[in-house]
């Protein structure tokens, strides 16, 4: 029963996708859609909650086989950690769905929006519930994809498109590394089920491949969670509609990397590399994001940088890995989701009502938007870490962990705390309490209920858990921290725990942070002057440019359009590989070369053929070359005749004659031969040609040097008359023993006939292409005679056609 309650939400969320599209068709208003669709995540949340509660602290698991050939099963595992994430995904998700109904009020494409949003919700829930790591990866990639589609929701704008692509490439690239890491992890651990791997504990750390596995998985986690130096995609992702930013790029998806680290901490954690790689990257991210936050003025970008800093904090805490740090991580995760979600939604509401997100322009919204302002205030206070809000408890824990770990870590935490206070002031206080600097694009009113209910609820929950933290500690944070640690961590949270070093540091943070906020303008200007353009984002742009340049260069180099270079490359590849193999095996040096058996006329014939060959090459006249070619063919026919192959000789003669006639007919009108290539080109071509020729000679000699088995040919000799009733064995082979070859052969002939006919006679409404693209610059060389060449079938009326080749040609010629 519990097991199925775990799987059912996935189907519910999937069902919402077509339903959203259908509702749109039925003409529901966006707000109605929002309220109705919010029932889907809510129902899912209730099911999961019931499953957790009735499991009495034990993990709930279910496994549905799916792709056994790949060791992938749809196996779900719900423990403390995944419950915490599921709560955020579904709970905040429901609020976001309602909110989007107001925010995208007049959008005709809201059906699609909800479809992608539910696809994301489905995928994100999968990430945190999947027990099978490959399954987790599948959901992981789906979150990247749905994030791509949602960031690019305003796809008419180039900025949205490039931001979407950037997010996809960065997270997708990390995802690929992670795939390799996961596959290796599964191979060294013997299973892809996380629960089974967790049992093995730290044993895997002794495997020689452990470090690469760790590095690859970290790469996936870091890109997804926007850790330095991959942090740059997240602020750019703010091009998405605000509900998306709040949901994907603050509350849930960006935390998937943190989730993965937390999930795998019991297996991978504790290794020295883990501490420095995870803790160090987390710290660097906190520092970079904090600094960058000070120079922002856009509400969403401010929140984005502080989100990056928060993600860094979570990463740092997991890197530290002590029970205290993990407890802090779980607490901070929840607190951050509550206040940051609320602030994002507030930012959206402000933007929606005033038409701007530029903080220096905003102010005085308290009167017009009291409910929104209340939500903003509560959330900002929580974010700044003031009692009695939940953010205070979380920050105290972070500081305590910092103190526990050492002064450097503590300094980083403090640095980040300052910027948090600053951003809280910028986003939650300034727009409402500061004086407006100029007139706003719209005169603001309170946002609709869809849009204030969400932030207010989140902010109130932040207040409530701050006042009464015990329940959350016991039910949510304790189990989550225990899952992260792989052992039970008892968690008791209290709002007030006396004057401790952490508390004193908190006071310092608030005071200094408030000062920074007060002098925000001069701080920003100073930082903007000092700004340094060569960051990772710059590198990303340059590497895209570099990629394009490299691609163009390589294509010009390889795909030059000149046939002779293609041929040269192919010929040389063959000569080099075959020649090298032969030389390596030492074959050429042991060949017996005997010419004792050559008869005089045979030698003469050979000389004749080679002479005619040379003549064909050197002839300055087309007809001369063709005639010489004919002589070569005839000479070969004579060879066939001499060596017991009259059928071949007859056929060769007949075909040679026919070929020469065709050559003459086809090329009668062509201009004289010219020597188009320079002498040096001709010389080097001659060298290549002679090399190839020598190689082929060598190969023939090698082949005839080996003893051949006569079994097959003897069969034909013995059975041609008795079983196939023919005396001419060659003909019997052609029409009986190997008649399938002949069937193919005449098919080739037939197709060639059709082809020649089609090529020579095909004419159709050329005029159409020309009238469609009159500017089309046809080469002047397009001979007038071409039109008169085949008067027979040129239709005078242009035929209607859907022929793509014509216009594609038009596109290229221009």
């Amino acid at each position: 029963m519990n097991e199925w309650l775990l799987a059912l939400p996935f189907f519910i969320l999937l069902l919402a996708i077509p339903l959203a599209l259908w509702m749109r068709q039925q003409g529901l208003t966006t707000a109605q859609m929002g309220w109705l669709l919010a029932l889907f995540p809510l129902a899912s949340l209730v099911m999961m909650g019931y499953a957790v509660l009735s499991a009495q602290g034990q993990p709930v698991a279910v496994s549905i086989p799916w792709a056994p050939a790949f060791d992938i099963s749809f196996s779900l595992y719900l423990d403390g950690l995944s419950s915490l994430f599921a709560l955020l995904i579904l709970g905040i998700g429901a609020l976001i769905v309602i909110y989007a109904g107001g925010y995208l009020g007049s959008d005709p494409n809201i059906g699609r929006f909800y479809a992608w949003l539910f696809l994301f919700m489905f995928a994100m829930l999968g990430v945190v519930l999947a027990d099978n790591l490959l399954m987790l990866f599948i959901f992981w990639e789906l979150t990247s994809l749905s994030s791509f589609l949602l960031i690019g929701y305003y796809h008419h704008e180039a900025g949205s498109r490039s931001a979407a692509l950037q997010a996809l490439l960065v997270t997708g690239g990390g995802g690929l590394a992670m795939l390799a890491g996961v596959v290796l992890l599964g191979q060294i651990g013997g299973t892809f089920e996380a629960s089974a791997l967790l049992v093995q504990g730290k044993a895997l750390q002794h495997h020689p491949l452990f470090v690469p596995v760790l590095a690859l998985i970290l790469l996936g986690a870091f890109t997804k969670s926007a850790q330095f130096p991959f942090h740059f995609w997240l602020p750019n992702a703010m091009a998405a509609p605000t509900p998306v930013s709040a949901y994907l790029h603050s509350a849930t998806m960006v935390k998937a990397g943190v989730y993965l680290l937390a999930r795998l901490n019991p297996i991978l954690g504790g290794h020295p590399i883990w501490l420095y790689a995870v803790g160090g990257v987390g710290a660097a991210t906190m520092l970079v994001a904090s600094v960058l936050a000070y120079s922002q003025t856009d509400l969403k970008r401010l929140l984005a940088y502080s989100t990056v800093a928060a993600l860094g904090t979570l990463t740092l805490l997991i890197g530290l890995g002590s029970p205290l740090a993990l407890k802090a991580a779980a607490t901070f995760l929840l607190a951050h989701a509550l206040y940051k979600g609320a602030l994002f939604l507030v930012a959206g509401a402000v933007d929606h009502e005033t038409g701007t997100r530029h903080v220096p322009r905003l102010g005085g919204l308290l009167r017009a938007m009291p409910l929104t302002a209340t939500a903003a205030g509560l959330a900002a206070l929580s974010m700044a870490g003031l009692p009695p809000l939940f953010g205070f408890i979380a920050k105290e824990l972070v500081y305590e962990s910092g103190l526990e770990a050492g002064p450097i870590w503590m300094a980083v935490a403090l640095f980040m705390g300052l910027s948090t206070v600053f951003v809280a002031g910028m986003t939650g206080v300034a727009p409402f309490w500061a004086k407006p600097s100029e007139k706003l694009p719209h005169s603001p009113h309170e946002a609709p209920s869809t849009m204030w209910s969400g932030p207010l609820l989140l902010a109130s929950v932040g207040l409530l858990t701050g006042l009464l933290p015990a329940g959350a500690a016991e039910r949510i944070i304790g189990p989550a921290a225990s899952s992260m640690a792989g052992q039970t961590i008892p968690v008791k949270l209290v709002l007030w725990h006396g004057i401790t070093p952490a508390f004193l540091l908190s006071v310092v943070t608030v005071v200094v942070g408030t000062l920074l906020f007060a002098y925000r303008t001069s701080l920003r200007l100073t930082l903007q002057r000092l700004s340094w353009p060569w960051g990772p984002a710059y590198l990303y742009e340059r590497s895209l440019d570099g990629l394009n340049a490299l691609a163009r260069f390589q294509t010009r180099l390889l795909q030059s359009g000149a046939l002779r270079y293609y041929l040269l490359t192919i010929v040389l590849s063959v000569v080099v590989t075959v020649g090298w193999v032969l030389l390596r095996s030492g074959v050429p040096w042991v060949l017996p070369l005997s010419v004792n058996d050559v008869l005089f006329y045979e030698a003469a014939l050979a000389v004749l053929i080679l002479g005619a060959t040379l003549a064909a090459i050197l002839s300055p006249f087309r007809l001369g070359a063709i005639a010489a070619l004919g002589v070569v063919g005839a000479g070969i026919a004579l060879i066939y005749l001499m060596f017991g192959a009259p059928d071949l000789a007859i056929t060769q003669f007949a075909i040679e004659a026919l070929t020469v006639i065709l050559f003459v007919l086809a090329f009668y009108h062509l201009p004289r031969f010219k020597n188009l290539s320079s002498p040096s080109v001709r010389r080097s071509d001659a060298v290549v040609a002679l090399l190839t020729g020598s190689l082929m000679t060598l190969l023939v000699l090698v082949a005839v040097d080996v003893e051949i088995s006569p079994v097959v040919s003897r069969f034909f000799a013995e059975n041609a008359l008795t079983k196939a009733y023919g005396r001419n064995v060659v003909n019997v082979i052609l029409v009986d023993f190997r008649s399938l070859d002949t069937l193919g052969e005449i098919t080739v002939l037939g197709v060639a006939g059709i082809g020649v006919y089609a090529l020579l006679k095909f004419r159709k409404g050329r005029t159409k292409a020309e009238s469609a693209a009159p500017s089309l610059a046809r080469r002047s060389a397009q001979p007038a005679q071409a039109a008169s060449a085949a008067p027979a079938l040129t239709p005078s009326v242009p035929l209607p056609t859907d022929d793509p080749a014509e216009a594609s040609k038009g596109g290229e010629a221009s």
Partner: protein, 504 residues
């Protein structure tokens, strides 16, 4: 059972002949085309069910036993390839009904279509190397004509290169055949495999490896392997899109099939050299192909370069040379043919609507045709290897095989290239679907995309795109089948014994 093996050759041949005899009526030819393609698909399905349950099917053409007569043999690998042929054939034939102009139909489009299919199927069933050459020529000459049919300048220029380089491949193949016969006195593939497996004398070893190089070059040209692929990007974008789609789905795969066949059945005496070389070339094929694609702004040229880079993945499985890696190659082949054909058809649908393949001029398709957009996305993401579509599992199979065998470098290349694939697929998406149309006063072309034709045209795209999704969700059974094929390939004795035993 004899008849069954014969069908993949006989059905297209009979269809080709019938359309040739009905050269006066375009209507009859069109019907025959679809009926013939459907029959081919049906035959392939029956064959696959037949082969999946039991041994390798063999028939002795003309009732002459191996190695004297020509043997047709269908193992799982062949049967899967035949099924693929049937799928592509049917989808493209329906698509071409509504996109090929009357003039091309009059001048033999439908015959050529089926003669091409005959050549393709022939390569998949034959057990004789010279016969393989003949089928190659059948499909080549048909592809020559299909490519050149229409006589546009770009087509001519593309065709000249295509024809020359492919004839070069044929010449190399023929030479290799002659030399092989000169050494072993037989051309039956099972016979050759048997002889080589029994052990070569030191005197034979070097020359046989040298011949293996010739075969690698000959088939490598057809498969568009690095550095032999030049003909492909210069020609595939010139004919009508139905032809491009057909070619992209089937032709290079024939080269890959031949490579897999000879490098699992015959030339396995020096895998340390030959297969490592293949692996090396596989990596270069992926990289050069995808970089070529990145540079393109013409949708069909972009897709053409992707064919090359995907060939690299197919070769990777062969180069790794294990049952799992070969299974991945087979799975990948089916996946990529379907996805790539779907993408070409999407480009055709876009062309049908907007009159251009130029990404800079395209735009707004997400808005105008959300259905097509979703179909494109399915196929494009499948190609880029995103889960849960077919391409992900194809890639996963290769990555797992590569990592398990310790070939980390090629795995890294494969993953990196899949990111670039994603990049260029999303370039199409951004430019053609998301971006607004740059030129609004351009008559929203002709907006020919209305009515019955449009729906029917979409059916082909939809069936292929959905197939990639189905192949993803149902990856496991499909891969089990491929694993069976891979296991057969890694145990060439099965094939040899089946051929030796002859027809039951």
């Amino acid at each position: 059972m004899n008849i069954l093996i014969l069908l993949p050759i006989a059905i297209p041949l009979a269809t080709g002949i019938a359309t040739l005899l009905a050269y006066r009526s375009r209507m009859i030819q069109r019907w025959l085309n679809v009926i013939g393609s459907t029959a081919l698909l049906a035959a392939a399905i029956v064959l696959l069910t037949e082969v999946a349950g039991q041994d390798i099917l063999v028939t002795q053409v003309g009732n002459w036993p191996a190695p004297f007569g020509i043997i047709l043999a269908v193992d799982l690998f062949s049967a899967i390839m035949l099924l693929l042929t049937g799928i592509i054939a049917l989808a493209v034939s329906v698509f071409s009904l509504f996109t090929i102009d009357a003039a091309r139909e009059q001048f033999g489009y439908h015959q050529l279509y089926h003669f091409l299919l005959m050549g393709v199927s022939g390569t998949f069933v034959t057990g004789d190397l010279f016969n393989l050459y003949v089928w190659f020529e059948v499909l080549l000459i048909s592809s020559f004509v299909l490519l050149a049919l229409g006589g546009e300048r770009a087509q001519m220029e593309g065709a000249i290169k295509y024809v020359t380089l492919n004839l070069m491949a044929s010449a190399i193949f023929l030479a290799a055949l002659g030399l092989l016969y000169g050494i072993f006195g037989t051309l039956n593939m099972a016979d050759l495999g048997r002889i080589i497996a029994q052990g070569l004398s030191p005197q034979e070893r070097g020359p046989v490896t040298a011949l293996a190089m010739l075969f690698m070059a000959a088939f490598g040209i057809k498969a568009a392997m690095f550095p032999l692929f030049f003909w492909l990007p210069d020609s595939y974008h010139t004919p009508p899109v139905a032809v491009s789609a057909l070619f992209s789905g089937l032709l290079t795969k024939v080269g890959v099939y031949a490579l897999v066949r000879v490098f699992t059945l015959i030339f396995i005496h020096d895998t340390g050299f030959t297969h490592t070389l293949l692996l090396f070339l596989a990596g270069l094929t992926m990289i050069t192909g995808v970089l070529g694609a990145v540079a393109q702004y013409d949708m069909r040229r972009l897709l053409s370069f992707h064919i090359i880079s995907q060939i690299g993945y197919l070769l990777m499985g062969l180069g790794l040379f294990s049952a799992a890696s070969l299974a991945s190659t087979i799975f990948f082949t089916v996946h990529v043919s379907i996805a790539k054909t779907a993408l070409f058809l999407v480009s055709g649908a876009l062309y049908h609507r907007y009159g251009t393949y130029d990404l800079k001029k395209l735009g707004g398709a997400y808005h105008h045709m959300p259905g097509l957009a979703v179909l494109f996305l399915l196929a494009a993401l499948a190609l880029a290897g995103l889960p849960p579509l077919s391409g992900f599992f194809a890639k996963l199979g290769l990555v797992r095989a590569g990592l398990a065998q310790g070939h980390y470098l090629i795995v890294a290349v494969a993953l990196g290239v899949s990111l670039l694939t994603l990049f260029s697929m999303m370039k199409i998406w951004n430019e053609a679907f998301w971006k607004d149309r740059p030129d609004h006063d351009q008559r929203i072309s002709s907006l020919r995309g209305e009515g019955r034709n449009w729906t029917t045209l979409l059916i082909s795209v939809a069936s292929l795109s959905l197939l990639t999704a189905i192949m993803g969700l149902g990856a496991s059974p499909a891969f089990e089948l491929a694993l069976g094929a891979g296991a057969q390939l890694m145990n060439p004795d099965l094939y040899i014994q089946a051929v030796w035993k002859g027809a039951p």
